[in-house]
Structure formats: structure tokens, C-alpha cells
Symmetry: C2
Subunit: 395 residues, 2 copies
Amino acid sequence: MFAFISHLICPRCDSRFDPRKVHNLCTACASPLLVEYDLEQVRASVDKETLARRGESMWRYRELLPVMDPAHIVSFGEGFTPLLPIDALTRTWGLETVWIKDDGLNPTGSFKARGASCGISKAKELGIREVALPTAGNAGGAWACYGAAAGLRVHVAMPRDAPAVNQLECRLYGADLTLVDGLISDAGKLIAQGVREHGWFDVSTLKEPYRIEGKKTLGLELAEQMNWQLPDAILYPAGGGVGIIGIWRGLQQLKAMGWVTGSLPRLIVVQAEGCAPLVKAFEEGRTESEFWPDARTFASGLRVPKALGDFLVLQAVRETGGTAIAVSDEQCGEMMKLLAGRTGIFAAPEGAATLAAAKILRERGDLASRDRVVLINTGSALKYPEAMSEALAMR
Amino acid sequence: MFAFISHLICPRCDSRFDPRKVHNLCTACASPLLVEYDLEQVRASVDKETLARRGESMWRYRELLPVMDPAHIVSFGEGFTPLLPIDALTRTWGLETVWIKDDGLNPTGSFKARGASCGISKAKELGIREVALPTAGNAGGAWACYGAAAGLRVHVAMPRDAPAVNQLECRLYGADLTLVDGLISDAGKLIAQGVREHGWFDVSTLKEPYRIEGKKTLGLELAEQMNWQLPDAILYPAGGGVGIIGIWRGLQQLKAMGWVTGSLPRLIVVQAEGCAPLVKAFEEGRTESEFWPDARTFASGLRVPKALGDFLVLQAVRETGGTAIAVSDEQCGEMMKLLAGRTGIFAAPEGAATLAAAKILRERGDLASRDRVVLINTGSALKYPEAMSEALAMR
């Protein structure tokens, strides 16, 4: 048993909640809830050497994850994805030390497997039978997959123009799929209605506390794979932004445990020019973003006009001295081709966006030539046939 | 350095060849060549405990792989895929102990990553600059990927009606792709011509000795993941059949080293009713197959009308007391849905074929209820949008 959770906390109003009960948002202020652990107990129970001998999945960090009974864990080996050096490619732009964390190599072909593995496992532990979520595409596939493995019913709402493969995978996993004319925000309204009417458990981004714990392992792995020497900057393609909040939380926990020291990496948000609410809010000095009208980009995971956790993303970026930047679909397509052809890394357009951003940030001086930089590739290009076609048709 | 290769051998005429030189087929009888190792030396250099502490990829078996200098290894973490129990599903058919080895979780979404990682690494070590192959689809993507990572030029010929995603991935990796009106056999003729005219290195299935060494790790992993207690039967979906020959070779080597004991598992070939040359040859008691006219199946990896290594596949099946069976596309589609919906395993039609076959073999009495059975899923359904659509449209 791994019972190191101490409580759930609201980052906005500091209310505390009992983790043995089922929760969605803060009942006082409707903010997302975060999970707190007894880090002293964790430190007393596991050390880096023990960790190094464990299996190569995100569940190696089980003391920092919310599932108490290992029998509830639903896993296909997600996480502990390779950290691949791409210096040979970036050196020509004056960036000497760059890695890609290739999360497209996860089960279901995207980093959404981390959140779904953790979220479904915890839902199972809590005795939940039906979950529901809106998705830009990949989260739907991931939750449908882990839900099928756990025997939970999964209700998914997705934009009708999401990649066709996302719709097919949800249906093949037997999920209850509804296509929506509109964006993930419109799909979210439909799910909210189903939650009210049918009592489904709402696992929308940050509307339950456990998906983000799975994403947090991205940060834990980076630290371990870099031999506990954190990089100078991490570039993350933000749709809902859970991953960057997760990485931030994970690194803070490692720091509190004394497993890493010094400043946290600058956390840098990358968005698409056609949907950049976080970049706009960052540049305008706001603490929250505004709904982005008419969101458009072939990087379907970035078509999130307003993220529930926007205030946490902006806080993470500012507190770590990071920045935010938008890139065009053309730049993403070019970088998809460059990465695949020069390194064999098969990045989703979202992942390719971070490479485009790195180049621009170097030109701007926001990244120095000796900065140790990590780019997060959130998915495999295999899940984006439409974007592959567009990338190949460019120039 | 890992220099445990002793020589290359022709399994048909016993000719021996120097592994430090570049070889394709046997120069005496045109048979595929196989790699032999000094197994005494391997046993003296590594034990099971050392192995258990290594990284979770197929390169943990480096003493039994042909690459001598680790600097030449091109890897995205392929291999050591999960072995997933599916007893809850198969028990209703009277099969109590069944696992799926989910090789769809490899980089590039198929088991072809094993052969390409090994083949490209060895080609790099041998100083080769350009490789060429025909493919039913997934091998093209895998070799294009690892070739791009190694800086090698990859020439691919593929049937025009192969899954669209296979064409897209080859182009995005920057491979030289030619589409052919016909089957993999027609693509093979085109490649043979390019090899003659341009001096490309021919890496067609079994036309060089190293792709199969990567596939062999499937057998090594099965043994290790089952705690060195081999299963009773392994069901393998055979197109070119390299995987089953590789598994057979790998298990023979482990037996020669004393790492496993007793009989080898019954090796069972599964093909599609619309292209079953090995099944026909097995049933007719022949040692080689005949060209299958008008091959048709949505399991594109099984559309191989005549395999160069057919005589080795048939030998492996007969010597281990196995059998051969063909299943219909409808049965594959049904099993794709059943597997995804009940277990979260997202099998390619080829992998789903082995589940359909297991059910029939149990009915026939070829599998006993207590047999410990392993099914090989060779790819992810993500690479088969067309087959997913067809499966969903059934019934």
C-alpha cells in the first residue's frame, strides 16, 4: 500500500479536502484541486538507488502518485519515455544542448496516456463506474483505452473536425462517443450536461485532481533521466496546460524532498498563432486568460480557447522566469519534417511547435547557446494523418 | 565491444561466411543467411541476474545481437514490450492462461521496429550508406525512421493500396518512396532492379542476415518475462514469417545456453483466408509454399503471396509440433473490437487474427484448456485506420 497522500488542496482559496472521498472542483471557489503528499514520509520510504532499479514506467514513482493499492493500477507501461539529444540539429541555430522528451512513444501514441492511467486507476480505486470528458482528440483515445482495460464506461465528446483516428480509436475501445460541431469548449458543455443528468464522474481537464498527477511524472522522469541535474528551460506545447502545471508541481516536490537543488527550469509555454490565449495573457500581464475566439490550428491539441488551469500555468511561467510564445502552423509543419527526416523523431504538430519556438527564442536571446533545453513532444505524428499531409504539401 | 558473432551460415547448404564482410543471400544456393554466435562465450559474459538490471529495450540482449560497437546502435527504446494477460477474455472459450505480447507498443507502432533497429545499426557498423526494401507497409515506416536517425538513405517500394499512414510516414521521414500497382512481390521486383542499377544494399525480408536478429528478441523477451518457463504454444501472424523464425532461433539459442530447458513451445502460424500460402503448404505436407494468386486481406501485413523464408517457417512449425491456420477478415475485425473494448489492447488486424485463431484451435482441440498460450500482436491498430473503419462497420 502507498498511502502518502495527505490531502487535497485548493490553490486559490486554500480549502482542504479528504482524499478518501470523491471530489471534482473546490466546493468553495470552483478552482481545480491539487494533491498534497507527506513528502517526509515519501523520503523515508524510497531513495534514488531504489528507484533506479524499478521498472521503466511512470509507476516507478508510486510513492508520489495517488493510487494506494497497486491492484488498482491500470498500466500498459506508459511513461519513462526516451529523452533524445538533438544537438546535431539545433547546433546550427546556436543551441548546443537540446533534448526531446518523446512522449509520442507512450501507449495510445500520446502523453495523454499518463493522465488516463493515473486518473482511471484512481477512479477504479474510488469505486467510480462511469467517467466523462470532452477532448480535442488524444485524451479521448487514452481515457477510452484505460477505461476499457479497467472495465469502466467512458463517455467522450469531441469536435467533429478532430483527427479521424481519434474518433475511430474511441469507437473501437467501445467508448460512448458524441461528435460536436465546435471546439473542445462546446464539447465540454455537452459533457457538463451529461454529468448533471446521469451522474457520470467528470474527468475533464483539471475537473478532478488525479489526471495531473499522471502528467507530473513527466517532470519526475526528466529529473531522474538528467541525473537529478535540472535543465535550464523546458518548452511545453500548452492546450489545457495540465502538463506544465504537472511538471512544475513534480519538480517542486522533488525540491522539497531535497532530491534536486537550485532554481527550477524556466517553464516556457508554446501555443499556435491561431489559438494563443495563454501567450496573450502572459504578454498583457494578466493572471488569467480570455476566451480565444475562432480558434484555428492543425495542431488539434492546441485548439483550447480557454483553459481552466490558465491561472496556474501563468503562475508557473512567471515564478520560474519563463515566457510564452506562439508559432504558425507552417513553422510546425516545417519542423515536423525536419525532425522526422534528420532525427527519426516522429513528432505531433504540438511537439514540433516547441522546436520552432526554440529556434525563435534563440534568435530573440530568450535562450542562450549554452542553455540546457528540453522540448516536450506530446504525441506521435501517427495520430495526425491530416497534419502529416499538410506538412508534406508545404513548400 | 560485443563480438560474440562467430559466423554467418546458410541453413540450406551449410556454407559459412565471414560476418565482418557485407552479405546478402548465400552465394552458393541463394538461401537466406543466419547469424551464429559463440554461445559459450556469451554464457561466460552475462547471466540472468545481470540481464535483469539492464534497461528495458531489446538491446539488453546485446551479447546475442550482431552489433559489435554500442556506438552504432540506433535505438528509440524498441522491444521489451508488455506481456499482458487476457485470461478474463479467453476463459469463456475454455482457454485459462493466455497472454498477448503487445508489440504494437513499439516505436513506429509495430514490431518492425525491432528488425529495423538491428538492421540499420548493423548497416551503419558495416559502413553502408543506402538501403532499399519492398514493404507491405509497416517495415517501410520502421526502416525510414531508423534510417533517418542513422543518416542513411532509405529507398522504399510499397503497394499503392497499403494503408495511407504507411505512405505518409515514409515521406515524412524523408525516404525515397515509390508506390507500386500490385503486391509486395511486385514492389520487390522494383527494388531488385534499383539494387542492381544503383548498388543500394538490399534489406528485403531475409535478403540480409540482421533484420531477423532484431525479431529474435521477441523470443528472448518472452522467455525472460515468463521467468524462463516457456509457454506451451505461441501464435504468430505470418506474412514474411521472419518473426516466427526469429523466435525459434532465439529460443534455440537460449536452450543451447542452458537458460531454458524442456521442449520448445509449439509454434503456430496464423494467416488470412485471402492469403494463406504457408497454411496450404503445411496442410499439403510441403516443405515450401507456392505463390498465392490474387492475395486479399485488410490485414495488410499478411498480404505476402510467397515468403523467401517459407521453408524455415514450415520447419519451425513442424519441428515444434505446431500447426497453421487461416482466419477470415470478419473474424479479425470482430477480435479487434473485442480486444480493444474488453482489455484496452489496440491490436492490428494481424494481431487480432491470432486471437481468432486461438478460439478456433481450442474448439478443434489443438489447444488444451490449461495450455499456456502467447499471442503475438505485431502492430497498433492506430496504423490501420481503414481496417478500424471496416471492423466498426461489421455487424
